[in-house]
Symmetry: C2
Subunit: 285 residues, 2 copies
C-alpha cells in the first residue's frame, strides 16, 4: 500500500519504519525540518499524502486541527494514533476515518527513539463507532495486523473510559500522593511503595494535563468512583475483616495482570460481535 | 553489648546478623523451631534475654502482647522494629523502651532472606517521645549507628503520620486503582502507569489491612486529604492551566526524591532540637 505518516515522533517514526519494513511504500512529514531530514520525509503535508491510500495522523491532539485543511479533498483512508478517541472522532466528522490508539510507548520521545518493532505483540485499539465504515475498519485491521499488533475493537467511548482507568486517573493519583509527602522529614522515609506509586508524577505536568483535560468527560466518573472507593476504605479502617474484603478485589485484579489481549477463536463479521470480543479482552489478529 | 533479638524473620534475622558482625554478643529467639535451629537461637524468650543489655522485639504487631509477660522484670532497654509506633508505645507504657522502625525491606521474608547489610545507609526512625529517656535514646543511636543506619529522630505520632503518607495510603490507592480496571477489555489495555501504580496491590490483603488498621488514626486524615486533592483535580479538569498548576506540586516533590536522610552538621543535645533535625530530613549519624 501507499501510506503517509504525518508527525514523526516516537510513535509516528516507529510506524513509518514498521510499515516500510512490512513492504509498504511510505512517505512521512514532520513540522520539524531536522526530523524531516533525519527521516527522509517529504517537504509538506500535501506532498506526503499525494497518491496515498492511507494517512496516519501521528501529531499530538492540540496540533491535529491545523493539519486538517491540508487533507481537504483527500480520498484515502485517514487513521490516527492519538490517546483520546472521542474528541478526535468529533474533529474528523465527515471524513473517511478509522480512529486508532497503539498501547505502546517508551520513556524517550522523538524520531531518534523510534523502533520498527515497537508495536509487535502490543494492543492497538481500532475504533468501531456507528459511523465507522466496516470495510475501512477491516482494511486497517489487515494493515496493522501485518505489523503483528494485537488489534482490539472498541467504541471511542469505551476506549476513552478504559484509558481514564488505566492511565489518566493513575497519573492524577500519583501526583496527589507525591504532593502529600512534601515535608522533608516525610519524604526522607519514602521507599518502594512510594517509588512505584508515584513514578508517573515525574511526567511533565503539561503532558498529563493535556491528556486528562482532553479526556475530561471520561476521567470525571472514574475519579468519582475512586473517591467513593477510598471513602469505603476509610470507613473500613476500624474493621480489619472488612478492610481485607475491600482489598481483595484490587488484589485479585492485579494478580490477573498482565492480561495479554489473546487472539479470538472465531472472528465475528458483525459490528456488535467484534465489539463484544474486545470487551472480553480479545484481539482480532 | 549483650543483645537479644526476639523474632527472626527478615528484619529480626538481619538485625541479629548485623549486630553479631558488629562485634556484639547476640542471642535470638523465634517461635518457629526450624528458624531457631537455622539461627542457632535460644529455646525460650527468657533464656534469650537473660543477662542482656538490650532486647529488640522483631515480631509482627499482633504477636507483641503475647511476648510481654516474659519480659516482666527485665531490667535492660527494650526496642522494636514494628512499622506502627503509637500503638506499640501504648503497649510498652511503664517499661524502659525506645521505639524504632528501620525503613528497609525486601520482596522476600523469613530468616533465609536475612542480610547483615540490610540496614546500611537506610533510614531508621528512633522515636523520641516525651516519655522516652534521652540517655536510653542515645544508647540506641550509638548501637544502630554502628550498623551504619541513618538514624532519624521523630515522635511516634510523626512517624505514624509519615508512613501513612508514604506507604499505607499508597497501598490502599493501588488496590482501588486495580479494582477499577477489573473488566477484561480494560485490563487488556493496561501498560506502564498501571503496572507501577498498582504494584503493591499484589501484597497480601491481610498484611495491608493489618498495617492500615493498626495505623487507622494516622491513615484517616491522610485519606481525607487525598480525597480532597482528587476533588480539586476533578474541578480543574476543564481548566488545563489550573490542572497544570495542580500537577506541579506532586511533580516537584517526585523530582526531589529519592531524598536521602543526610547527616546533620552539628547535632543538638536537646529533645526539640533533635526532633527538628528529623523534620528537616536529617539523620543524627
Amino acid at each position: 500500500m501507499r501510506i503517509a505518516v504525518l508527525g514523526l515522533g516516537l510513535i509516528g517514526g516507529s510506524l513509518l519504519r514498521a510499515l516500510t519494513a512490512a513492504g509498504h511504500q511510505v512517505t512521512g512529514y514532520d513540522a520539524d525540518p531536522v526530523t524531516r531530514q533525519l527521516a527522509g520525509a517529504a517537504g509538506s503535508v500535501r506532498e506526503a499524502v499525494r497518491d496515498t491510500d492511507v494517512v496516519f495522523l501521528a501529531v499530538p491532539l492540540p496540533a491535529l486541527p491545523d493539519l486538517l485543511p491540508d487533507l481537504d479533498g483527500y480520498r484515502g483512508l485517514i487513521s490516527d494514533v492519538t490517546s483520546v478517541k472521542g474528541p478526535v472522532a468529533a474533529l474528523m466528522a465527515g471524513r473517511r476515518f478509522v480512529g486508532g490508539h497503539p498501547m505502546a510507548g517508551k520513556e524517550h520521545s522523538g524520531f531518534g527513539s523510534s523502533d520498527p518493532l515497537l508495536f509487535r505483540d502490543q494492543p492497538w485499539v481500532l475504533c468501531l463507532d456507528p459511523e465507522t465504515d466496516l470495510a475501512d475498519w477491516r482494511t486497517m485491521v489487515d494493515l496493522l495486523g501485518g505489523l503483528r499488533a494485537r488489534i482490539i475493537p472498541a467504541t471511542s467511548a469505551e476506549h476513552d473510559a478504559a484509558v481514564a482507568r488505566i492511565s489518566h486517573v493513575p497519573h492524577l493519583v500519583a501526583s496527589a500522593i507525591a504532593a502529600s509527602a512534601a515535608e522533608p522529614g516525610v519524604l526522607a522515609l519514602a521507599a518502594g511503595s512510594f517509588r512505584d506509586g508515584t513514578r508517573v508524577a515525574s511526567t511533565a505536568p503539561a503532558l498529563v494535563a493535556a491528556m486528562c483535560s482532553g479526556n475530561a468527560a471520561a476521567v470525571r466518573p472514574v475519579l468519582d468512583e475512586l473517591i467513593a472507593a477510598l471513602g469505603a476504605a476509610r470507613a473500613a479502617l476500624d474493621d480489619r475483616g472488612g478492610l481485607i474484603d475491600w482489598l481483595g478485589k484490587g488484589h485479585e485484579v492485579r494478580r490477573r495482570w498482565p492480561l495479554r489481549a489473546t487472539p479470538a477463536g472465531k472472528i465475528p463479521t458483525d459490528r456488535e460481535g467484534l465489539l463484544e470480543l474486545g470487551r472480553q479482552g480479545h484481539s482480532v489478529t
